[in-house]
């Protein structure tokens, strides 16, 4: 068993992103790193992983009292890196290739690797799937595959850059199980926005504007209101204190059916027979791959029913009326900020306007941007230069600009820091007279606003209850991997 290795980070700087960061990281120690979007957490992770080099300062590797500069070490053998998106990290074309890639680079002979791959696949429940493409696996399975492939290389240190944020509670627990198994053999750095996860670490570091603050034991840090306020740390959410809306808001067009799936089937992915009335806020929860996104996409006609039919605003959805129905609905995709197609923030929000209208940058238009927390000075900025939170706000502003009757949100808060989460949540809460379908893994994000909760599992809505009654179904929701 490996013991006693230390990474000593001394006053490192990188461009204007990392500004004199110092800390020690011991093998066997789990550090949680919190901080707002754009504070430099991922850049620090890349510096530690050796993917980029610090401009000044030094990182030293201490192994049994021998001190070596970090750049003189075969870093990939000592440190592993797991990112947020499993589908973007997979290297192998098959499960076996993925598991074997690092092992072959370590110089292990081919036959031993072959044996080890079979064993590894069976430990993560992928036996018999070794020759399958990783793209056939669910998000949770893929992340477990990537984590196992990296852990198989037995790194002394492991960085998880928001590696658990896309996963439901069940998939997250599976990965945590893998991490706990190697807890004594590897130092782990968990970059996260999730205070609940951070609480399980040994030490809490908070990053802000390229600087790092050591806050010691996370459980104690989360109890200190002064520190919490200073660094915008959210306490561990307590659903007992989180009350759902007491009385549902009274929609203008009360009792008017706005969405109706009549025995609709979408291949084998979704089967639904439900009605939503105008002005309702429906929280849609469920494990990854259960059919939640298919449900949202069905409303905008991106998925057509293979059986049954869908009525939107009283009209049967068909290819002839798709354009007019799409004007009444807006879908905010998962990580919508990644997929902005306008050349600038302004063009993204006012996409589709005539050239003449676009040229007229009126005060009203700029004020609209500012209402979403996008300063007017950013109007001409290309979207790719914005932070994650800003991009998400731009996507939301673009979706709401046409004042749709139905708003479809697919995990709009994923990967965002607490400040951005609060401000986007506040914007959504303010929306009135709008029917909202909100997909999430975390019920706590929607409880204050939701009227109804749908639990989707294996392509079926298995639970439809009023938000006020969620406690009665807590066990069922938790068993499905919903955080609540």
């Amino acid at each position: 068993m490996k013991q006693g290795k230390v990474l000593k980070v001394q006053n490192i700087r990188y461009r204007d992103i990392i500004d004199g960061v110092s800390f020690d990281w011991h093998q066997g120690e789990i550090i949680a790193l919190l901080g707002p979007n754009g504070s430099g957490k991922s850049t620090l992770a890349r510096l530690l992983a050796g993917l980029i080099e610090p401009e000044t300062g030094d990182i030293q590797f201490i192994d049994d009292d021998s001190v070596r500069p970090w750049r003189a070490v075969e870093r990939w053998q000592e440190i592993g890196f797991v990112g947020q998106h499993p589908q973007r990290q997979v290297i192998g074309a098959t499960v076996a290739e993925e598991l074997s890639f690092g092992l072959l680079n370590l110089g292990i002979d081919f036959d031993s690797v072959r044996d080890k791959v079979s064993k590894l696949a069976s430990t993560i429940g992928l036996e018999g799937k070794e020759d399958q493409s990783p793209s056939t696996l669910s998000g949770g399975e893929r992340q477990r595959l990537v984590a196992t492939a990296i852990l198989a290389m037995e790194p002394s240190f492991l960085i998880l850059d928001e590696a658990l944020s896309m996963l439901d509670a069940r998939a997250q627990a599976n990965i945590l199980e893998l991490l706990v198994k190697v807890r004594t053999e590897s130092g782990q750095l968990w970059i996260t926005h999730d205070s609940e996860l951070a609480c399980q670490a040994d030490r809490l570091l908070v990053m802000q504007k390229g600087k790092i603050v050591d806050m010691g034991n996370p459980r104690e840090a989360f109890r200190d209101p002064q520190l919490k306020a200073q660094f915008w740390i959210r306490s561990v959410p307590d659903t007992q204190c989180l009350n759902p809306k007491e009385t549902p808001k009274l929609p203008k067009k009360q009792n008017q059916t706005i969405l109706e799936w009549r025995q609709a089937k979408y291949e084998s992915r979704l089967s639904i027979n439900k009605v939503i009335t105008a002005g309702e806020f429906v929280a849609i929860v469920g494990p990854s791959g259960s059919g939640k996104t298919t449900l949202l996409e069905s409303v905008v006609g991106l998925n057509q029913p293979t059986e049954g039919q869908l009525m939107v605003c009283g009209e049967h959805v068909s290819s002839t009326n798709l354009d007019s129905l799409r004007r009444k609905t807006r879908l905010l995709f998962q990580e919508a900020g990644e997929y902005l197609i306008g050349h600038s923030v302004y063009q993204e929000v006012y996409y589709g306007d005539t050239k003449k209208n676009l040229k007229l940058k009126t005060q009203d238009k700029l004020s609209y941007l500012e209402a979403f927390g996008i300063p007017a000075r950013l109007a001409e900025t290309p979207p790719e230069r914005l932070s994650g939170g800003e991009r998400q706000k731009v996507a939301l502003a673009a979706a709401l600009r046409t004042q749709p009757e139905i708003l479809l949100l697919d995990e709009p808060l994923i990967g965002l820091d607490i400040v951005s989460r609060i401000s986007i949540q506040a914007m959504i809460s303010k929306l009135e007279n709008m029917t909202i379908l909100y997909v999430t893994h975390d019920l706590r994000d929607v409880l204050p606003d939701a009227d109804r909760i749908w639990l989707v599992e294996e392509g079926n809505v298995v639970l439809d209850c009023a938000a006020q009654c969620w406690q009665e179904h807590k066990g069922q929701l938790q068993a499905a991997g919903v955080r609540c």
């Binding site: 074997s100 072959r114 990783p134 793209s135």
Partner: protein
């Protein structure tokens, strides 16, 4: 097999036709899969029939020629060959997933890897392509959906082309980002030139050996028939 088909004569083509029919029945692929070949057959038949069937004597110009039975027969034989190659390829792609095709090609590089590390790099390139293309297609699909939901798709071809060009910029940016991420992942897992070897865990079954035997016998028969017909 495609190479052997170019040297064989009508006897070999008859043999291959029967084998193809047997394979189609064995694979239980529906006949509609081969329907698209009819269009190819028509145009190629027209081309080969017209070009190979038209003959003229040495002392005359091309426009003074005429259609000959021998020439038309040659054109028909050529068409038969092409049709068999296309049908076999269609059958192969219908029963073999692109992933398996790519892995199979990469697997055949294994003996070469012992000779030169470049073969290993090339095999890895194949594997990465297999992985990267679906990822980019996925990203392109999301961008397409985003665009579709932003407003009506224009009816004029010029405007449509402009819209597609407009989407190419974010797609390029995303592709570059994904490529960079992939390069970083390779670095983080210690990629070194020559170390990669394609790994297929699945054990070879009796059916695989029977398949190899049939292909070998088929190939040898084609060679023999080509020799005896000369």
């Amino acid at each position: 097999m495609s190479l052997l088909m170019t040297v064989t004569h009508w006897q070999g083509l008859v043999l291959t036709s029967f084998i193809l029919l047997g394979l189609v029945i064995l694979s239980r692929t529906p006949f509609r899969l081969y329907r698209s070949l009819a269009v190819v057959l028509f145009w190629m038949g027209l081309f080969y029939g017209l070009s190979a069937g038209w003959v003229w004597s040495e002392d005359k110009s091309i426009w003074q020629g005429h259609w000959s039975v021998k020439g038309l027969t040659q054109g028909l034989e050529l068409l038969w060959r092409v049709l068999l190659i296309f049908s076999l390829t269609r059958l192969y792609s219908a029963v073999t997933k692109p992933l398996e095709q790519g892995m199979g090609i990469a697997y055949f590089f294994n003996p070469l890897i012992r000779i030169t590390p470049k073969a290993s790099d090339f095999a890895l390139l194949l594997t990465l392509t297999l992985r990267f293309i679906p990822l980019i297609v996925e990203e392109a699909l999301i961008l397409w959906k985003v665009r579709i939901l932003k407003g009506e798709w224009p009816t004029s071809w010029f405007k449509r082309a402009r819209e597609v060009m407009h989407l190419m910029v974010p797609l390029m940016l995303l592709s570059l980002k994904r490529a960079e991420e992939l390069a970083e992942n390779l670095m983080a897992r210690g990629y070194c030139s020559g170390k990669y070897r394609p790994l297929i865990v699945q054990e070879k079954t009796a059916e695989d050996y029977v398949g190899v035997l049939i292909i070998v016998v088929w190939g040898v028969l084609l060679l023999i028939l080509a020799k005896t017909a000369q």
